[in-house]
Symmetry: C2
Subunit: 634 residues, 2 copies
């Protein structure tokens, strides 16, 4: 028996009566919140360390108001969010980044330490005030050191404004914030990354769904042929976040990934598709059915194999992707969903499977040889008990290194009809070569051979007030040597350190070609999800090898999706386009937390002369603090 967690519901019940009431309440609360109407939404948050057991093993996590993950913010497009954040960490600064919110007119509220603001000191309060101008599935997270990895994150959900409608229908809504979890603390992790010899953080101990996972045991032990043990979930903090549904309804599943490292694949298991035959394996239709069901998974080749090897026709719940990173996309049905750190999606699922059963929802690792078991929870069809374990197998997920599957998925994400189109050509094109390097014996990531080191004074303030020597005045390069062989480890592994800024002309069109390459080890090239602050970009395309002129023609200028995070595949390139329409200093970086820590990012700045008055509280450090402090004579 699994003690289920009912999301925000405080009480549990094992009786049907209570269970029904809870389920009913759930559905009421899951419907679009048409009663939310006010325009400013105030929150008072205290950020502090606390003991918590995200995967049943106790650790220290960073929580907000005693919660992990932090409270979900729900608002409507056009609202102003006001978060009064008090730092209750004992000796550490803190900031919070509102991932996907472009911060038009409020670049100081972007929540990036050393970039948009000074870290908030212990016992001090900073007020984040910004507009959520656009509906979508967002999240927030720490953006200082590796505090995101310590659990400083939560969901930020913006509904359509009153009177507006999403371009699709759904009956209820479910939320899944995904993350990965280590038992080693972030201080140890970050020291290891900055040590000689280099110590990698390793693969996560668990994957978390809504902050809940299970270490060293499995909810689905009965499917593992004895290789894992069933979880005894005595600890409420790690009971799975159950997804409660009614049969034959459509749900909007909001999915966001704030993993420190892991690329993920999400799938919702697995029912037998019924074609009139009631018994498994009795006829070809029941065992194959590919003609009737175009998106079938395991049955592709059934017609070609001997009947003795036929398998029952089992299918994941189909997901129809309708939103990516706060932008509507052309609806596309998939059997499973790739999601990289920094991305968010909405998918519609229809609860059209056998309602007598519950189903597995699984999250598994992509792109790295997994040493972490899938994160699991349960899609609970009403009126089944939430603690009734699914009897069908785990959902089908692609192999961790099936990059073709990933690329096919990435290429399926296209802008919805009526979305803004990219300008036909860029004013400037910046090539950014992603390499793993060495610097004085330290292992680094570098962009065009520069490994990012952030300055003590945040860029936004030092630019606005034209402070000299606050950061490298030299602009980093727009390109890399044309003879660089992206298929081989760097010939000269040494990079430089830098904190220079790409100064971008305001209201110009910028292309960024992210170019992947071989890491320090031969035949290794990693996935990097790149996230841009302050903007969305159009993803013009993904390609193999080194970007060349002939790839130009392949770029999609017709319906490229708008996103804020896009992946580069191993040895590949990704082409992005955006307009510099948002005065500020903006980070653009790999969203893998240890990679950023190792220098994998750049800074863009545009229209700094147009920035309004930066709140004093954002400037209380480094040279901006000293700027006008006349100590002796206040």
């Amino acid at each position: 028996m699994i003690p289920p967690s009912y999301g925000s519901y405080p009480s549990l019940s094992s009786t049907m009566a209570k269970s029904f009431i809870i389920t009913l309440c759930f559905f009421l609360s899951a419907l679009p919140h048409s009663t939310l109407a006010s325009k400013a939404r105030h929150f008072k948050w205290e950020v502090g360390y606390m003991f918590w057991s995200p995967d049943c093993v106790e650790n220290v996590v960073i929580g907000i108001n005693g919660q992990f993950p932090g409270p979900t913010i729900r608002a409507k497009a056009g609202d102003t969010i006001v978060v009064e954040l008090t730092n209750k960490l004992h000796t550490e600064g803190v900031v919070i980044h509102w991932h996907g919110i472009r911060q038009f007119g409020t670049p100081w509220a972007d929540g990036t330490a050393s970039i948009s603001q000074c870290a908030i000191n212990p016992e001090e309060t900073f007020v984040y005030r910004f507009k959520v101008d656009r509906p979508g599935t967002y999240f927030y997270h720490g953006h200082y050191g590796m505090q995101r990895s310590a659990g400083l994150y939560g969901s930020l959900i913006v509904e359509v404004a009153d009177g507006e409608k999403d371009p699709f229908h759904y009956d209820g809504e479910l939320n899944m914030l995904l993350s990965d979890w280590w038992h080693e603390g972030i201080h140890e992790q970050s020291v290891g990354l900055s040590s000689i010899p280099f110590r990698w953080i390793g693969e996560p101990q668990s994957l978390l769904i809504e902050g809940r996972g299970q270490y060293n045991c499995s909810l689905a032990a009965h499917f593992s042929n004895g290789s894992s043990t069933m979880c005894e979930l005595r600890n409420r903090q790690c009971t799975p976040h159950i997804l409660h549904v009614l049969p034959n309804k459509t749900y909007r599943l909001r999915i966001a990934s704030t993993t420190a490292l892991s690329s993920l694949n999400l799938a919702i298991g697995m029912g037998r598709k019924s074609f009139g035959s009631t018994e498994a394996g009795t006829n070809q239709i029941d065992r194959c059915g590919f003609k009737e069901v175009p998106h079938q998974l395991k049955c592709d080749l059934l017609a070609d194999v001997a009947p003795s090897e036929w398998q029952p026709c089992l299918f994941n719940h189909k997901m129809v992707v309708v939103e990516a990173d706060g932008n509507y996309v052309q609806p596309v049905a998939v059997d499973d969903l790739d999601i990289y750190s920094g991305e968010s999606y909405s998918v519609l699922i229809t609860t059209d499977q056998n309602p007598a059963m519950n189903y597995w929802v699984s999250v598994s690792v992509r792109g790295r040889h997994p040493q972490t078991p899938p994160g699991l929870t349960i899609l609970n069809y009403h009126p089944n008990s939430a603690s009734k374990l699914p009897t069908s197998p785990l959902p089908i997920s692609p192999a961790w290194n099936d990059y073709d599957h990933s690329k096919a998925f990435a290429n399926k994400i296209l802008a919805a009809m009526g979305s803004p189109k990219p300008p036909p050509r860029p004013d400037r094109r910046i090539f950014l070569l992603n390499t793993q390097n060495k610097y004085n014996g330290y292992t680094k990531w570098a962009i065009n051979n520069v490994s990012l080191v952030l300055p003590a004074t945040p860029y936004l303030g030092s630019m606005k007030y034209r402070l000299k020597n606050a950061f490298d005045s030299a602009m980093p390069p727009d390109n890399f040597p044309s003879d660089y062989d992206v298929m081989k480890p760097p010939v000269n592994a040494n990079s430089t350190l830098g904190g220079g800024v790409y100064m971008l002309k305001f209201n110009s069109v910028i292309d960024v070609i992210l170019q992947n390459a071989n890491a320090l080890t031969e035949n290794v090239s990693e996935i990097h999800p790149w996230h841009l602050h302050g903007h969305d970009f159009w993803v013009l395309g993904y390609g193999e090898g080194k970007f060349s002129e002939k790839d130009e023609k392949k770029l999609n200028l017709k319906n490229p999706p708008l996103k804020n995070t896009a992946v580069i595949f191993p040895y590949g390139w990704t082409a992005l386009r955006f307009i510099t329409d948002n005065p500020g200093a903006w980070a653009f970086h790999c969203h893998i937390e240890p990679h950023l820590h190792m220098g994998m990012g750049v800074i863009f700045a545009e229209g700094v002369h147009l920035i309004g008055n930066i709140p004093m509280d954002a400037l209380g450090c480094g040279m901006t603090a000293k700027m006008t402090m006349n100590g002796p004579n206040p």
Copy 2:
């Protein structure tokens, strides 16, 4: 075989020839440094986390320039120390307190976060510049959160000025910085202390001598009847810090304790005193000898017991205490030395034991039921190999709860002839009741029922610039209810929180009567070593129970020692007197790190109108940062 550590010597040798050279070098370097002559001593320090194995178990420690403990500062009285400290912690602020240095004229260099300065932000540099006006044995340590417990400490040794002499002779000098060590990190420790339910940090895993200890094994396993295993010291970081000596010389042993928790007793073992008999146990003189040796230890009653129970006459190396907390004291010979966190002593030892042997130096826990084995190192008589383990037993130490022994020791420490005498009477007497309390379910320590919470803006700046509402304007009470029963747990366990300041008249005489009491648990009263910043105080006396008028007469106004740290014994009181001759804001607190963290301290301030210009770098936080920053119009 123990690979010995030779202090700062990089190379080891097992050959006699090399060993001789090293030993020779050692003695040259250990002689008073008459070649040090310059007046300003510059240091560039980077403070950062690193992996280290203080007790053979790897942990993350805070190091300075890659060293743990931090580098030893050596200077001469009258010198100016300049430490350019760069914070290389990733997200934490940092400060360093120069323990025992009074900071006349430089109160902003006292290195207390929220009191004398803003914590130094990551990547920022703060310059500590202060005069060491007086010879003595000092140390430095972090004073923010629990960073001292993470290993942020080192020695600060001030020799007499050129042309001056110490009032005692010695041939060489040895240094022993003592600390205690936990395997749990400070973030976990401090979260536990601030959690409901309260989680105590527990007893330390090891005691460290010069940053070196051994966990789960003993150098002296052969004396433990199989209860512990011999250390295999493969890790250089935890090999003991050997004390190398020549026979028949006098050494100044500088001892300082920066423990987080532990009260310690130090003793140097144990030689057989020779009285002409060469064989153990053959005659009464060899077995007793108490008439010949007045400070004998185990033999007191030998004359009264049967010859079959006689024991060999073994004696610790005698220590003659000559300095306490940077003040010369009346020389007094002891067999072992109590030292509390925050204290320092110099003792003279004479290497008059059998030179064919090495001897144990042991450090053991006092005042708490020890769960931590003694810290050990070796007094290595030249020309014995440093790796030759002593064959004599461990030194004799008093029982952990032999408070009479401790009190006798404390009362032996008296001012040296010619020391300044205290004024005959105080201008103001402040009684400070030490209680353990609850606040909203949290476990706290409180002084006169106020548990100290430090403000976001350091006191020194907010006082100097008369900023309103920077801290509690109400002064905390000078006394506690006269009917408070110090022998019982508090009747009302609830304390208040506060950050008020004891405003002291400049150049006045202040008495502080520290009054101990029962903790929350019946029949428990703990030791607290109280440390005063910016001053020494005269320790007028220690007493039992509640201080009363009749105790007045017992105060020692003749030759009380000057110290900066003094202990209160369980259920006892300690009377201190000092002169408010140093403009500034000064912490006065229990030097047990978790106790301070739980609120066990007060703030004194005097002559704030006389403070010079505070360096801007000390003011870059809280209200002092905003004070004159006119963000929009720089």
